[in-house]
Amino acid sequence: MRKATDFCQKNLAVVLLVIAGVIFSLTTANFLSVTNILNILNQNAYMLIAMCGVSLIMIGGDLDMSVGYHMSICGVLCAMMLTRTNIPIWLIVIMTILLSVALAIFTTFLTELLSIPRIFVTIGEATLFQGIAYVITNSKTVSDLPVGFKQIAQGTVLHPSLTYATLMMIVCVCVMGFVLSKTYFGRHVFAMGGNLTAARLAGINVRKMKYVIGILIGFFVGAAAVLLIGRTGAAAANTAAGVEINVLTGILLGGVSIRGGEGKLSNCVAGILLVALISNGMQLAGWNPYYQYIAKGAIMLCVLGFDMFQMRRRSILNNQRKEETARSKGNAVK
């Protein structure tokens, strides 16, 4: 019994996802069909790929609030290159990802230069990026993307709903999950999230790590931008607006603490899918989108509250346990 509750607590997102899945499959016909599940994965592939980068930052003890417009800029520039130039598609994709990496390196450079947490730098940048995205598109939607480009995201294998985007998402998640849990790089990320000063004094090159994490988030956000506009077939300045909040909520639901140092990628995947299912469910129920914002905000606040509650409860438990061991030691001496 204790093991079961322990499991539920550690993998809360997975448990909630299963519950949500059961509810939806009872209330909606075809929910549990392979096609529908693959569709959900396809629709959220870009979010899950972005999550691979953002979760690294969060486990490392920081936040990135500019992901949405960062992705938008990459998306619109990619779309404009596709429609207005004759550069081959593969080169445009690589250029988009490189651009995204450059933006992320710039962010890391600013955090190092100003020596303030990434969260504050990226709050400023989010507005900056938003402005740039609107200026370069003149707030128009860029559509009519070439079919060859759309195939990158929409092409299917084996099953008519198993897209390349889904496959790439699965590869990214598996690779990052492995990197985080098995490699020394992953351990160093956890070290930074656990105690940044101790990590530095233990000889971990924190500055280099920050740049590497920056490059990785840039890569994942760039790839997500390509897949997102490839799936929708159009790009606008607000294409990916608000992605950072959805990703953040999903990762927090996935059990990553807001202070960093904890978390498992599989739970983050479940968290993101849970957010997706909830918004999907609200859409199916015909809720006004404004109410959806209210619901999402409320979920985020609940998750933050739960995170805080868990930390406080754990510190109380720790003190109790420490007292107990001290007492039993005292008895042994007597």
Binding site: T183, H188, A191, G194, A198, L201, N205, G261, N318, R321
Partner: protein, 199 residues
């Protein structure tokens, strides 16, 4: 400064006969220097992680093959130092926050030894730990010195200073004011130098 976290203003440093200047702590660790910070809770340990995470935490890179950390080697290393330093714990999976101050300090030392460091900087090694554990730490330091490690102890505890040292360097406001050999040790002399009266 010795371990590369702060850039020196002047002076030179030699490690094993070669002049060195470290740009970062990681370079110093590679050269075999390990710092055991005075505030082990805020600067030394990863308090919410387990013992078998903390002890190898300076050595993950070395324990990895093709970037992949082998859990087997992590366990072997942890078990070796938990036994060698007699760290009292029900399990190596125990999180460090739950250990007593003395055992936490031993984990800090174990981590430095596990990184194969042979120049050990103890910064206030006995702050906030009980008398019995203090004696154990002293014994451990003497043993380590006998085994051929260089130990630099930074302390503001006079008894500890006079009792443990072979040579004392006194600093006042960041500058060296004196160096005492074992036969010159006296409380008055150290205090004089430390308060900057004697120049």
């Amino acid at each position: 400064m010795l371990c590369g976290d702060v850039k020196p203003v002047s002076g030179t440093m030699e490690v094993k006969g070669a002049a060195r200047r470290f740009a970062s702590v990681s370079e110093a660790v590679d050269a075999g220097i390990a710092l055991m910070p005075e505030d082990r809770k805020a600067e030394g340990l990863f308090m919410d992680y387990s013992i078998d995470w903390n002890i190898p935490s300076m050595s993950f890179k070395r324990l990895a093959r093709f970037g992949i950390v082998s859990q087997k080697r992590v366990d072997a290393l942890t078990d070796k130092y938990v036994a060698a330093l007699k760290i009292k714990t029900p399990s190596t999976r125990q999180i460090v926050r739950l250990l007593s101050g003395g055992n936490q300090q031993k984990v800090v030392v174990a981590r430095a030894l596990a990184a194969e460091s042979d120049i050990l900087i103890f910064d206030e090694p006995t702050r906030g730990i009980d008398v019995g554990a203090k004696q154990e730490i002293y014994k451990l330091m003497n043993q380590l010195a006998e085994d051929g490690n260089a130990i630099i102890m930074i302390t503001s505890d006079m008894e500890e200073l006079l009792g443990m040292s072979d040579r004392i360097v006194v600093l006042y406001e960041g500058r060296k004011t004196g160096e005492l050999e074992k036969n010159e040790f006296s409380q008055d002399r150290v205090l004089e130098l430390a308060s900057g009266i004697a120049s």
